[in-house]
Amino acid sequence: MFYGYGILQGMWVTLKQFFASYFKKRGQDGALFTVEYPEQRLPEKERFRNFPFLIYDKEPENLRCVACDICAKECPPKCIYIVREFDKDGKPLKRPAIFDIDFTVCMNCGICEEACPFEAIYMDHEFEIASAERNDDLLYHKDDLLKSNAYFHKIRPNDATAVDAKLKEAEDKKKAAEAAAKAKAEAAAKAPPPPPPAAPGTTPPPQPPKPAV
């Protein structure tokens, strides 16, 4: 072919695309593929992960987190800071007094969700959290992070159902074990009292991470 034929072929391709973008319907070859963001949105994928949130059952006081500090330890960029709550006598309680996540540091890897033994922390779908203040607005405190189990069901129905089933199973087992232990204790009247169920709080005392300054 003559010199310049390749160029003409290429120009034919772009011209075809030019007309296709006007006349073809979305999804067809050569149609527009822009999603005009604030008005149009892509469907949310269930596994989509952005920043973590804390789950509570029914009431916000009932949060699942027991301040075991595992997520803070496993977090690769160390963006989680946890301080356990103590009661008046200085006895540690199974709940966090402080649970802060620095979203400027978080890298959305999902390892906290994977490592949490109590199904308490999960990755959220919420991504519109832009703010004008970098440090203050993106440092999320416990109250900002708390979201209900119902919300979890809304964004990730399959995962939430599986988690609920798992928790229920564990609870049933625990109850059964307790009942069995009770029965056993009653049976052996003067035997030593049964040991308390293994508390998750037996992990070493928490060491707070250092937030980025």
Binding site: N108, E114, P117
Partner: protein
């Protein structure tokens, strides 16, 4: 050139009236914060010194200070175009170190994901190369249109579009639902049509041929000596593909060929990438036919998902390497029996491929130097690791 001796850099004759310019670190076509210290005689490149490290974060030290599993999301950020391949390399190295078996379905899914990443990478690299050549974004946007479909799949499978963090030692994080496999099949079936159109736009274009042919010629001998890997090596005509040589994972089960160029110029590097996409499509086609339901995680490794810090590989060392889209991605890991690796090293392909950048560019024009850099295919997250 004597075999086994360092190649003499071809000196460019000039009259001493030169202009020194810094191309980068903030320049539209250095693909990130990369700097080339160029000396020009007119427009001819007389000397070129790459300067890097603007994105250096001591990735290796970060990894040495955390558990093996926690490094996985950091490998995503090495070559942020191909997080799946990076995951593959790192899990391969650790699996070699701790002798972990991977179930078959997981192997298939790994291969599918790695090949999809290769397609994503090659198709967008061609687009970027054309941008460096001066085409006003058209090829890159066509490439991104197709890439978008694959990234949507990645999001559905792993939860993130680019930073997938999908592989785990001994398997993968989530299973791939049948519906997604069907969508991959659809993409694989439709992709050749798009590639044909893409090639009509580019391959025979006289301007592209004028700009790319006989520019930045890399002889096979120098390529081997300078440890060049990936499509760049194969464009020079050296038959070396780690998928074929090491047969890691289950690549020995697939029937595919290694496309080789002859001259090793920018055009060959471009076209070898096009051909590699077609071979990747063949692998995907076979993998999608053969994949069967089954386990996705090694049972022994499941407990370590919940407690990565309990994973302590035996004392020893391993070097795991994969054929990443940019070349050989190697992970050298030394374990001292603690939850943290004693030594963690990344053999970053695009970093090492830059070794001969000056040799390729000398004597060419400034515009060619940009194109040659584009054809090397660098990602600064990996170069500066």
């Amino acid at each position: 050139m004597n075999k086994g001796e360092i190649s003499p850099k071809n000196e460019v004759q000039h009259d001493g009236q030169t202009l020194e310019i810094n191309v980068g670190p903030q320049h539209p076509s250095t693909h990130g914060v990369f700097r080339m210290n160029m000396v020009l005689d007119g427009e001819t490149v007389v000397s070129l010194k790459p300067v890097m490290g603007y994105l250096h974060r001591n990735h290796e030290q970060i990894a040495e200070n955390m558990s093996y599993a926690a490094s996985m999301p950091y490998t995503d950020r090495l070559d942020y175009f191909n997080s799946m391949s990076n995951n593959f390399g790192w899990s391969l190295a650790v699996e070699k170190l701790a002798a972990i078996e991977v179930p078959e379905r997981a192997q298939y899914i790994r291969v599918i994901m790695a090949e999809l990443t290769r397609i994503v990478n090659h198709v967008s690299v061609i687009g970027f190369l054309l941008n460096d050549l001066g085409a006003f974004f058209t090829p890159v946007l066509y490439a991104f249109r197709e890439r978008e479909k694959i990234l949507d799949l990645f999001e559905e499978v792993s939860g993130a579009r680019m930073m997938c963090n999908y592989f785990r030692f001994g398997g993968i994080k989530y299973d791939v639902p049948q519906s997604v496999l069907e969508r991959i099949r659809e993409i694989v079936d439709k992709f050749p049509k798009f590639l044909d159109e893409f090639e009509t736009l580019l391959t025979k274009n006289e301007i592209l041929c004028m700009r790319c042919q006989n520019v930045g010629v890399l002889p096979a001998e120098l390529a081997v000596n300078a440890s060049i890997t990936g499509p760049m090596l194969r464009a020079s005509g050296v038959n070396y593909d780690i998928r074929k040589v090491d047969k890691y994972s289950i690549y020995d089960r697939f029937n595919f060929k290694v496309p080789l160029g002859k001259k090793g110029d920018v055009y060959d590097r471009y076209y070898v990438r096009v051909l590699e996409i077609r071979e990747s499509l063949k692998i995907l086609d076979q993998a999608l036919k053969e994949i069967k339901p089954g386990e996705i995680m090694n049972k022994k490794m499941v407990p370590f998902l919940k407690s990565p810090r309990n994973f302590k590989p035996p004392v020893g060392e391993a070097y795991g390497r994969v054929e990443a889209p940019k070349g050989e991605l190697g992970f050298y890991v030394v374990s001292d029996g603690t939850p943290q690796p004693w030594r963690y090293h990344v053999r970053a392909p695009s970093f090492i491929n830059l070794t001969i950048l000056e040799d390729l560019c000398l004597g060419h024009k400034l515009a060619d130097a940009i194109v040659i850099l584009g054809s090397v295919d660098i990602v600064l997250g990996e170069v500066d690791h």
